[in-house]
């Protein structure tokens, strides 16, 4: 972990225009929760539907996509990554520092708003907020690692990541039962379901995988993406003539 790398990454993430998007996405989620509450009143079923569906399914992956790709992609694009790579710091340290930054940003703009939206809309927030917060936090971490790795591997990380988030997580995994076993959203929902315990059925929360499987797969994905991203960063070809 290198504090200077993290600091520069934060400046890059929040200093650019995409910081606005990072702010808008959570506002949309919490705003929607507030509007629904004003119109229809607090309700656990609606909260699980909105926060679990739109929050975990759309806002969290999008925020993690912005944070994960944004913490290294623009630097690779404009060549300023040279200033980090031409230093006696291992590429692994650089990647982990960037990942830590991306995770913190994703937690702040993705996971916390999920908890906040649940707090606003749920009738029994005491039971729902923490499990959803934990699920969203786990998803943010895994997504950030995945999308950061993707940004090292390809210049089109945002598009590839969007396709994954929309096509795979939302559509394929929504309709094809088998595909749900390979969905970050389902893995993290497994954690949420386990934390809800006996209440899960009552709230209508059913993940495709068990918490142990989901947690293990999230951990494996995070570690593997970090390791592979660092390896690719070690051999990232940089030429000024392109």
């Amino acid at each position: 972990m290198n504090a200077t790398v993290a600091r520069l990454t934060v400046r890059g993430l929040l200093g650019r225009r995409r910081a606005l998007l990072l702010l808008v996405l959570p506002l949309v989620l919490v705003g929607m929760a507030a509007v629904v509450r004003l119109v229809a009143g607090a309700d656990d079923g609606t909260a699980v539907g909105l926060v679990g569906g739109f929050g975990l399914g759309t806002i969290v992956p999008l925020v993690a996509l912005l944070a994960g790709t944004g913490s290294i992609g623009p630097e690779i694009d404009d060549g300023s990554i040279v200033y980090l790579l031409s230093k006696p710091i291992s590429r692994f340290t650089i990647l982990v520092s960037k990942l830590a930054t991306a995770v913190v940003v994703a937690l702040g703009f993705g996971a916390l708003p999920v908890g906040a939206a649940m707090l606003v809309l749920a009738q029994s927030p005491g039971a729902l907020v923490v499990p959803y917060l934990v699920g969203a936090a786990a998803a943010c971490t895994a997504y950030a690692a995945l999308f950061l790795c993707l940004a090292v591997v390809t210049r089109n990380a945002v598009i590839v990541g969007l396709l994954y988030a929309i096509v795979w997580e939302t559509t394929v995994a929504g309709f094809v039962p088998g595909a749900q076993n390979l969905s970050v959203r389902q893995w993290s929902l497994g954690l949420t379901e386990a934390m809800l315990g006996a209440d899960a059925d009552r709230f209508g929360v059913a993940a495709a995988v068990a918490a142990s499987t989901g947690g293990a797969l999230l951990a494996v994905l995070t570690v593997a993406a970090t390791y592979y991203g660092a390896r690719r960063l070690e051999t990232l070809p940089l030429t000024s003539a392109e």
């Binding site: 200093g15 200033y83 006696p88 291992s90």
Partner: protein, 303 residues
């Protein structure tokens, strides 16, 4: 004192060979890496800087490989050609961040020293996005110097600079060399290299074409035969007259024009109109064939 050794290095991208079996040794002082655009200079510098693996051969600094060896950056400073920098920070902040990234014991004073070296104290607290090209170049220079490296690599540092900035950078590079550093910069402009570099390495089309001090390179370039393309009322008669004269080493009739290789340019230019009038040939067009740097360089390669 450090020495960069490039030993039989090649680099290809798919089917394209960017650097072709280049060997050179770069020692203390200023070395110019001269060559037309696309000659493989940037690729070679990227390999020296450890940002690209040689497809064959090795690049070492004082015996240590540069590829996948981040410790090499303790003695290596790099000024990239690309403009990309952390625009949202100030010049001083960027130099300071670089000092910290080098894990220097006293980053604050190292940064202040580097900023002073490039004469950017007045603008150091402005955001980099507000800098002119020359100021950006100087801040890049400061980030490369902040850890006092013994080897400094600069990729096309004079691109887009005005004459005053150019002069300033040249002074700075001379000072670096006087301190015993190994300074290498690339350029596609002969005059830049001429003014600055103690020794010159010429690259053309991925190959190491020539090496030496400036006078040698200049001699190689001016002594080469000059090519002219001539159109006239009677190319064949003119060709016969020219080849009979000592200033011409070769003539060729091709594509409805006369192509002449002049061994002695001054004599050729003087005698051409005289010969034409004498043989009653009307000259329609006399054009020096491609005099671009590329053709000068490729002459060096063909030798």
């Amino acid at each position: 004192m450090s020495t960069v050794v490039i030993d039989q290095v090649s680099r290809w991208f798919g089917n394209v060979v960017a650097v072709n079996d280049v060997s050179m040794t770069i020692g203390p002082g200023v070395t110019g890496l001269l060559g037309p655009n696309g000659a493989g200079k940037s690729t070679l510098i990227a390999m020296m800087a450890g940002f690209l693996a040689p497809s064959a051969g090795s690049v070492t600094i004082d015996g240590e490989p540069t590829w996948r060896n981040e410790q090499i950056y303790r003695r290596l400073g790099l000024v990239p050609e690309r403009e990309g920098m952390y625009d949202v920070v100030t010049g001083r902040e960027l130099v300071l961040a670089n000092a910290r990234l080098h894990l220097l014991p006293d980053p604050e004073s190292a940064a202040a020293r580097a900023v002073a070296t490039v004469d950017m104290e007045a603008a150091q607290d402005r955001e980099i996005s507000t800098y002119s090209k020359g100021m950006k170049q100087r801040i890049k220079m400061a980030t490369a110097l902040v850890h006092d490296p013994s080897v400094l690599l600069l990729d096309e540092p004079f691109n887009g600079m005005d004459p005053r900035q150019r002069l300033h950078l040249m002074e700075l590079l001379h000072r670096m060399a006087d301190d015993g550093r190994t300074v290498l910069f690339s350029s596609h402009i002969l005059e830049e290299v001429e003014q600055l570099a103690g020794s010159i390495e010429v690259m053309v089309a991925g190959r190491h074409a020539a090496s030496g001090d400036f006078r040698e390179i200049r001699r190689l370039m001016t002594e080469r035969p000059h090519q002219y393309t001539i159109r006239s009322s009677d190319d064949r008669a003119l060709a016969a007259a020219l080849i009979a004269h000592g200033s011409t080493s070769g003539v060729e009739l091709r594509e409805a024009a006369l192509h002449v290789r002049a061994a002695d340019r001054a004599a050729f230019v003087h005698v051409l109109p005289l010969l034409a009038r004498h043989h009653d040939v009307r000259l329609y067009e006399v054009a020096p064939a491609d005099e671009s740097l590329e053709s000068v360089f490729s002459y060096l390669v063909e030798r």
